[in-house]
Symmetry: C2
Subunit: 294 residues, 2 copies
DNA sequence: TCCAATTCATGCATTTATGTATAGGTGATC
DNA sequence: GATCACCTATACATAAATGCATGAATTGGA
């Protein structure tokens, strides 16, 4: 190995990568927990060391030079290798004490996870649990969480997934609200009802249509990014919402809309990283979640 | 990107890599131009940062732990990415001044390269040339050289190779030595002659046999790793040696053995790295070598 | 068994890098 | 066009890493 060729400061490469990814020295400083002068000096030092001008200093912002752009792919590869080192190192941990981060949708996090974690506390009191309540998908690859609960099967080969039991979802509302819309008996009776959307309304509508409901965009008057907020709208009598029967069973004063309507079945996947699952701490939480939710 | 996961000191990863590759902290320090205490502290800091004991300190030497061994692949990948950054950065250099390192066999380096470099000096006086005279093959991938002259076609896809003219090699000796072995006229007359081997004798013998010479291992009494040293043995009348006609033509007082014997033809390849050849300085030297030696 | 060579660990002075505070400049918005 | 928000660059005091010198321990060979 010719060590001289790679004798530039590797931390400066990370500074360059962070600056490219975050868009500015200041943003990179915020993201990495360093300061803007430090990042600026590190990038300048890297330019000096490898003899390539990476950024064009024009006005308030930096733009990549063409030379710099041709290095970015290799720099990203270096960052990904660093990430794999971090993953593998975490996977080597055989300590039964320490942090495990679980990512799940906010509904799962709020209604189903707490009792499961309570049982885990009795079984492994040394484990610290952080619930990353997020409806975004890309948590595991970004290393924001160690274990994720998802409703779609992950495709990445570096992830391992275990399918839990399928759940059934039904339409729910308050008796009060149902009376207000005339106690619907057939799907056509729902044409005048309000439906609660989780996420963007355009995203939710196809699911309702797939259930055989004759709805249009106008039926979704109230919506929220948060499933918990949406469910609270249902509980306040603002409209009809979809919910898994497990969560609905935990909610008093809520009734099923048209009990004859067939349910929507959806899967739940327990996901982790191939290299992380070798950690006995993460493995223990993974198996506990599989047993309790499966 | 979760920057927190890769917030360990990346230079410490290089220290770990160097220690694994070189076998000890002291050897790594010598190889990387740092000191042994620095390397030791860096590896210890990395262990602390990622929570993995990398080395077992037993006696005077360190041995990888199983945990450490499982990180090595990822660490190597990071080093290779760093190497590609270095390559790409060198390739971005559009400066016509600076160092270009040429790797070639010692015979080529000593007899054929100097006049070519003299012409290059007149054409591009700002270019500094280092001739890495080595019979080892793996120079370009180790980044010991920017351009290499080889007699076998390189197979790696990241290398680019241009074939130069084929050369003819003949047997040579001093008239004095030929008289001593009875001025051989047919190949069977060579059975009692001494042949000079370049490299290991077992490696050289098959080439002589392929030329149709009825030789055994006993015919190779004098040999050297260095082709230049071997050729000087021929010039001193120690035996018969193979040499390209170009080099032999530069050597006075040497005659061809049995002029009727057909030559051995061998190719010469000019090789560089795909990412390096984009450097105008390296490109210029590459093209000059191709023109002068082709 | 002893000696020489080589290894890793530690104390200390010096060099180097970092953060804080601040100045200077640019682009978007009202 | 003035203001605001945001960016980068620089000076200086402090914190951190490095190299040197040295010590302690182990291996291999005479």
């Amino acid at each position: 190995m010719n060590w001289n060729a790679i004798s530039f400061d590797w931390n400066h490469v990370r500074a360059f990568l962070a600056t490219v990814e975050e868009g500015s020295l200041s943003a990179a400083a915020r993201a990495t927990g360093q300061t803007q002068p430090t990042l600026g000096r590190q990038v300048a030092a890297l330019e000096e060391a490898i003899g390539v001008t990476l950024f064009e200093r024009v006005g308030r912002s930096l733009t990549l030079t063409t030379s710099g752009a041709q290095l970015v792919d290799h720099v990203r590869a270096m960052g990904e290798a660093a990430n794999r080192i971090s993953l593998a190192a975490s996977g080597q941990s055989q300590s039964i004490e320490g942090l495990v981060r679980i990512s799940a949708s906010d509904v799962l996090s709020a209604y189903q996870l707490p009792p499961v974690i309570a049982q885990l506390r009795d079984r492994a009191p040394g484990i610290e649990v952080e619930v990353v309540s997020s409806n975004a998908i890309s948590d595991l690859l970004r290393r924001d969480a160690d274990i994720a609960l998802r409703h779609i099967r992950p495709e990445q080969p570096e992830l391992i997934a275990r399918k839990l039991a399928d759940s059934d979802a039904y339409l729910y509302a308050t008796p009060d609200y149902l009376a207000r819309v005339g106690n619907p008996k057939v799907v056509d009776d729902l044409k005048a009802a309000n439906f609660i959307g989780y996420g963007a309304p355009d995203e939710m509508l196809p699911h309702f249509v797939a259930m055989g409901l004759p709805l249009t965009r106008d039926n979704i008057r109230y919506h929220s990014d948060s499933g918990v907020v949406g469910w609270h709208m249902v509980r306040q009598g603002l409209g009809i919402g979809v919910m898994s029967e497990h969560v609905a069973a935990l909610t008093p004063d809520i009734v099923r809309v048209m009990p004859g309507l067939p349910p929507v079945s959806f899967p739940t996947w327990l996901v982790s990283h191939r290299e992380l699952i070798t950690s006995s701490r993460i493995r223990l939480v993974f198996d506990h979640l599989a047993k309790m939710l499966g």
